[in-house]
């Protein structure tokens, strides 16, 4: 089993720091967890009125099993380029990149917080394959566009409890829990998923153990924003986003400000969502994060054209655009693969 651990600000896999000894353009890469947002890997849509929006161009139909199958086939390519982690989510993300109204229904949970078996099966395939490849999964549990499908707070907690227990019972040791995507987006229906209370859920995750083992946990914040103190205190790692941050200097500043927060103790800081690229330039958000010892995560929203991006189904999980190729090429150079 692949095992992820944390020592100070560094990630370790199977007892070794990631990218051990690696320096790139003068910056230490050792201990980082370069990642990509792939939250639609388990996507499906239970709303018959919107399901046709995700149809594959060749078949004219959406196929959730084909989607995960193609994602699984792409994982070794990511790994070969040096990517060590992917972010997935039991409630996905916006299948239009960014959305206000989200009429589709993409959630692994019933209204009571129990699992829908098909979603669990797809996620299991992902966790099994990433485990084999020596990769880490940042497993998001909730998304603000879908949390309303949980009927009440008890259902939210039941869903989280089921998720954590499932991961532990299956013995996975390569999973980091992201309680919810961008907890500070003011569209979460349930107060316990909002910044004022989400630390309770981080503590909840940390309180579940199996054979002396528990999962590492945190949550993420929206683009350009840094965490609140209760989240900092409760978390094992801090997730921030670079969406909307067009100045790489702000990315660097975010990392520095996060380290100054009350309650901060040495722990990894990761960007696991940033929709800025410019990989051909010497200074971009990716490099700015790395320059401050923070990991960075690719978020390419794309379009529902089976070519662009990784967020709008039907997703082409390969390196199907120049932008994707540039990202993975930079990862490859950075990590010395």
């Amino acid at each position: 089993m692949t095992q992820v651990t944390i020592e100070g600000e560094k990630f370790f896999i199977d007892g070794q720091p990631t990218y051990a000894g690696r320096i790139f353009r003068g910056y230490e890469i050792e201990g980082l967890l370069l990642n990509s947002r792939m939250v639609q890997a388990t996507f499906d849509d239970a709303n018959p009125e919107t399901r046709s929006m995700w149809a594959y161009p060749d078949t004219g139909e959406w196929d959730a099993e084909r989607n995960v199958r193609e994602f699984l086939a792409a994982l070794p390519i990511y790994r070969e380029h040096g990517l060590l982690a992917v972010t997935v989510n039991f409630q996905g993300g916006s299948p239009q990149g960014y959305s206000k109204a989200q009429p589709w229904i993409n959630t692994a949970f019933t209204p009571d917080g129990e699992f829908k078996p098909a979603y669990l099966e797809r996620m299991q395939q992902i966790l099994d394959r990433t485990d084999e490849l020596g990769m880490v999964v940042i497993l998001g549990i909730f998304y603000f566009g879908q949390d309303e499908h949980l009927k009440d707070e008890a259902a939210v907690i039941r869903a989280l409890d089921n998720s954590v227990n499932w991961v532990l019972e299956r013995g996975y040791q390569h999973v980091l829990i992201e309680v919810n995507n961008e907890c500070d987006v003011p569209r979460y229906e349930h107060p316990i998923l909002q910044p004022g209370r989400v630390a309770e859920l981080i503590e909840w995750v940390k309180g579940i153990t199996r054979n002396g083992r528990r999962l590492l946990a945190g949550t993420s914040y929206g683009g350009g924003r840094i965490p609140h103190e209760p989240v900092v205190r409760a978390s094992d790692f801090l997730l921030v986003h670079g969406n909307g941050v067009s100045d790489p200097n702000r990315i660097a500043e975010m990392v520095e400000q996060t380290r100054e927060l009350p309650g901060y103790h040495p722990m990894p800081i990761l960007f696991n969502e940033d929709d800025h690229f410019d990989f051909d330039k010497p200074l971009n958000n990716f490099m700015a994060a790395v320059s401050r010892g923070a990991s960075w995560g690719y978020f390419d929203p794309g379009l529902s054209n089976y070519q662009d991006g990784y967020q709008c189904p039907p997703v082409n999980w390969g390196l199907s655009t120049e932008r994707k190729q540039q990202f993975f090429q930079l990862v490859k150079e950075m990590t010395g693969r």
Partner: protein
């Protein structure tokens, strides 16, 4: 920024600096003043390792009052330490293997008619004792099946642990050092408290084998020293670089116990391993789910909320049932948090 711990004295901080809205925190004090009448209260609020507020009414701040059953949470902490030290293989060890005397209570020698040791009691584990699901000397209650808050089960737990360390002899219960010696060494000294102890007993009939299931050690402490315990628990057993109580034990102890969740109705999912817990929102529906407490008669309370980095002690408070804190003092304190 490293965790702050008190030295000989607690450092003090203003409400604003501690992340409170002063006006809202004042409402908590006002609530106390409105309800105290001819009574008394003593409240300490700690956040971030510093005292934010200390409110005393008709009571000296240094007075050491009995914690009563809040001491049970101390017993739980000791049990976690005992397991970590290897004196017990796990909480699922059978008590009879360590304190067989506890099961030599035949009919007529129990606390009251109908209460004595039954054959089914021989299977009782330490986990069941600490979660009050043992059914010890309770007819018809199989071990692990029923949540029944009882002190006799806790008493034999303390004697069993003390006996493991050679500190309890049923032939000389009042002359035995008892569990308090472990509490002294493994909790009081590490956290720098100055609390005291008392030995109490029940007034039972002459045939009752109180040397076996009677006698309990209690802690008496000031509200400030109770806050030291709360701060130790808030930091999951860690005190100034030392893991005093195993973190894993405390995290488990402050959630509803497995036997309770498996066999009791949801409205009883409020008790872990001698900690009262809000993890299912059954105890204080409006307070954070990660909060828990040590609680004792006489309105003694050490409430801990890790997500808010907060400890509130009441010694005493103004409640008859600790569930009242949901709409009382603790509700105002939580609402004052920024």
């Amino acid at each position: 920024m490293s965790t702050i711990y008190p030295g000989a004295e607690w450092a003090r901080v203003s409400p604003e600096e501690a992340g409170f809205e002063t006006a809202k925190l004042e409402k908590a004090k006002q609530w106390l003043e409105n309800y105290v009448g001819d009574g008394r209260y003593r409240v300490v609020i700690v956040r971030g390792g510093r005292v934010v507020a200390e409110w005393n009414h008709n009571l000296e701040r240094e007075a050491q009052l009995w914690l009563a059953s809040a001491t049970k949470s101390i017993f739980s902490s000791i049990l976690g330490i005992v397991i970590a030290e290897g004196k017990l293989p796990s909480a699922d060890a059978k008590v009879i293997d360590y304190y067989p005397e506890a099961f030599d209570v035949p009919e007529g020698t129990g606390p009251k008619p109908g209460r004595y040791v039954f054959e089914k009691d021989r299977a009782i584990t330490f986990r069941q004792l600490i979660s009050n699901t043992s059914g010890y000397m309770k007819p018809g209650e199989e071990p692990g099946q029923v949540f029944h808050y009882q002190t006799y089960g806790m008493n034999i737990l303390t004697h069993a642990i003390a006996k493991i360390y050679g500190l309890y002899d049923t032939n000389d219960p009042e002359g035995s050092p008892g569990l308090k010696q472990l509490v002294e060494e493994k909790l009081r000294k590490p956290v720098g408290a100055t609390w005291g102890y008392y030995l109490a007993n029940f007034d039972l009939h002459s045939e009752a084998r109180i040397n076996i299931f009677g006698y309990y050690d209690g802690v008496k402490a000031s509200a400030l020293d109770m806050a030291r315990l709360g701060w130790l628990w808030r930091n999951w057993g860690r005190w100034e670089g030392k893991q005093v109580i195993p973190e894993e034990w405390l995290r488990e102890a402050t959630r509803a116990a497995p036997d309770i969740r498996a066999n009791c109705p949801p409205d009883q999912w409020r008790y872990g391993y001698a900690f009262w817990t809000n993890d299912h929102g059954q105890l204080w529906p409006s307070l954070p789910r990660d909060s828990y407490a040590a609680s004792g008669a006489g309105s003694k309370h050490i409430w801990v909320c890790p997500s808010l980095d907060l400890v509130v002690t009441q010694s005493p408070g103004l409640w008859q049932d600790q569930a009242e804190n949901d709409t009382g003092l603790l509700r105002f304190v939580v609402e004052a948090c920024m």
